[in-house]
């Protein structure tokens, strides 16, 4: 029971707890916040994996942007459905069963996989400079494309959300 393992367990608890809460809670705002918590935990897990850059980006994007946007959406669509309705959709046990099945299969696969118990190479660290070099070297095309996608998504989201107003 080394220190890293303890840290890992606590973070796992944070992540999974947050995720479960996000999925189970009745109040949408709560689930959004729980999501933020879970993602924060995940970012921490990245840090334990020496992927600092990814972790910080995770926090910046998810906690700083996505969570906020989700909250906005929740507030904007509030009051559309009367309260006191069942949280779960019809036939939700099937869904749960499906999820469980998937988890079972994945877990089985992971446990049976030959990769089990591979030792991590030592002294690996994702330095921001390294990441930047790679981003600018072999991953430059994906980078540009991502920028394009983001622009398109920005405009598209604005258009979709605006459409009704434009019509009326």
């Amino acid at each position: 029971m080394t220190l890293p393992f303890l840290i890992f367990l606590t973070l796992t608890a944070l992540v999974l707890g947050g995720a479960l809460a996000a999925m189970m809670l009745r109040d949408l705002i709560h689930s959004a916040l729980a999501l933020a918590v879970s993602l924060l935990g995940l970012a921490a897990v990245y840090l334990t994996l020496q992927a600092q850059f990814a972790g910080f980006a995770q926090v910046l994007v998810y906690v700083g942007a996505v969570a906020i946007v989700i909250v906005f959406a929740i507030l904007l669509t509030r009051g559309s459905d009367p309260a006191g309705q069942p949280v779960f959709a019809r036939g939700w046990p099937w869904g749960a069963a499906a999820a469980v099945a998937v988890f079972g299969v994945l877990a089985a696969g992971i446990l049976r996989s030959p990769l089990a118990g591979t030792e991590p190479p030592a002294g690996v660290e994702a330095h921001a400079a390294e990441v930047g070099k790679h981003l600018m070297a072999e991953a430059v095309l994906p980078l540009e494309v991502t920028g394009l996608i983001l622009t398109v998504a920005l405009i598209g989201a604005a258009v979709i959300a605006l459409r009704e107003k434009v019509e009326s």
Partner: protein, 382 residues
């Protein structure tokens, strides 16, 4: 130095932990005091600006006023609205304060006086800064109050809008230093050329970036003239309207710490961090310079708060999206130009010209968008 001596006292096994604890304690102590001083300084400064005395009763020159306030807020009844969402209501101030302190942890306050030297330091800074918005929202939403919710909405809109130019203007410095680590950025600004320190602010792009960063910093820390979220005259106190007592104090603290943090980041990025303004002054301990610069910025903040009126919402958004963002992008471009053009007056002229042109066009467009053309009319009371 002091720190190292203390650390040496500790048993070897727990030295890392001990050093960490010591530095954290030190930082908290220092900035808490700074916070206290700032509050009183601000009140007195505003008083002077508004032609009155300000606090001058408690202690000499009212210097003990903050202590009195703290005591008051501690002893005040801490009440929670019945309809409030207790947990969120309770968590919101913490979520505000903790990241603010975390953000402090990457600031180099002096030579080898960075608590945590991450190589993604700047990124980390902004990442934890993002938590502020969440906390503001939590506060505004959980207290089930129209005004607070309005304030929260305003605050989030404002922060999201201004975070973009903030980060973009910071990126210029990162580009130049070629690193995200705050230490290296400061190191990149060390040294002097013919007496002038090589702080980034001494270059055209650096100056523009610094100004942009400063404006965005004001907006991020909800200070006047960007204090719409807590505009007393409009929505009484904004998102923390329902908070009282110690939680309110925490919010107050959080806001100021946030201000310190962002000012510190401005210093780190553009004002050469803890570097002395002149070679001859290197003997002075480095953290002095850092805090001196911090003091100047704080004074500047107070001055602005006392001087400028509050913006309107549309003006706020116009400024963010129609001026700050394009300006920051242009500044990014200019930084690239600077980086790859060979040194000389030509470089200066070119970059300056580009920035000036962009500034003029954007400013004109902004004025037209805001509809604030024409001479200003002064009215004097008889």
């Amino acid at each position: 130095m002091l720190k190292h001596w203390l650390v040496a006292l500790a048993p070897a096994g727990v030295q890392p932990l001990f050093s960490a604890v010591i530095s954290i304690a030190g930082v908290i102590a220092v900035f808490a005091t700074l916070f206290a001083l700032t509050t009183v300084a601000e009140r007195k400064g505003l008083g002077r600006i508004q032609n009155r005395y300000g606090p001058n009763r408690v202690g000499p020159f009212g210097l003990l006023q903050p202590a009195a306030d703290g005591l008051k807020s501690l002893t005040k009844e801490d009440l929670t609205p019945a309809a409030a969402d207790r947990w969120v209501f309770f968590l919101a101030p913490l979520v505000l304060v903790v990241p603010a302190f975390l953000a402090l942890s990457v600031l180099p306050m002096g030579r080898n006086m960075t608590m945590v030297d991450l190589d993604g330091g700047v990124l980390f800074f902004f990442a934890v800064g993002a938590a502020t918005e969440l906390s503001v929202f939590m506060a505004g939403w959980s207290s089930r109050n129209k005004y607070s919710l309005l304030g929260a909405m305003r605050a989030i809109a404002q922060m999201i809008s201004y975070e973009v130019p903030l980060i973009l203007s910071a990126v210029t410095a990162v580009m130049m230093a070629g690193s995200l680590s705050t230490d290296e950025i400061v190191a990149a600004q060390a040294g002097y050329t013919c007496g002038v320190p090589n702080w980034f602010v001494t270059t055209p792009w650096g100056l523009a970036g610094f100004l942009l960063f400063l404006v965005c910093a004001m907006a991020e820390s909800n200070r006047s003239p960007f204090d719409l979220p807590e505009g007393e005259s409009e929505i009484i106190a904004g998102y923390y309207i329902e908070y009282s007592g110690f939680k309110f104090a925490l919010f107050f603290l959080g806001e100021y710490i946030g201000m310190f943090a962002v000012s510190g980041m401005a210093i780190t990025l553009f004002l050469g961090g803890w570097n002395a303004p002149a070679a001859c002054l290197d003997a002075v301990p480095s953290f002095v310079w850092f805090f001196a610069k911090l003091g100047c910025l704080i004074a500047f903040f107070i001055w602005v708060r006392g001087t400028l009126p509050r913006l309107r919402m549309d003006q706020l958004m116009n400024l963010a999206w129609k001026f700050m963002l394009p300006m920051a992008l242009l500044n990014l471009l200019v930084a690239g130009l600077w980086r790859f053009a060979q040194p000389g007056p030509a470089r200066w002229l070119a970059c300056g010209a580009v920035l000036a042109g962009g500034y003029l066009t954007l400013a004109r467009g902004l004025l037209e968008a805001g509809g604030v053309r024409g001479r200003r009319v002064y009215r004097f009371a008889e």
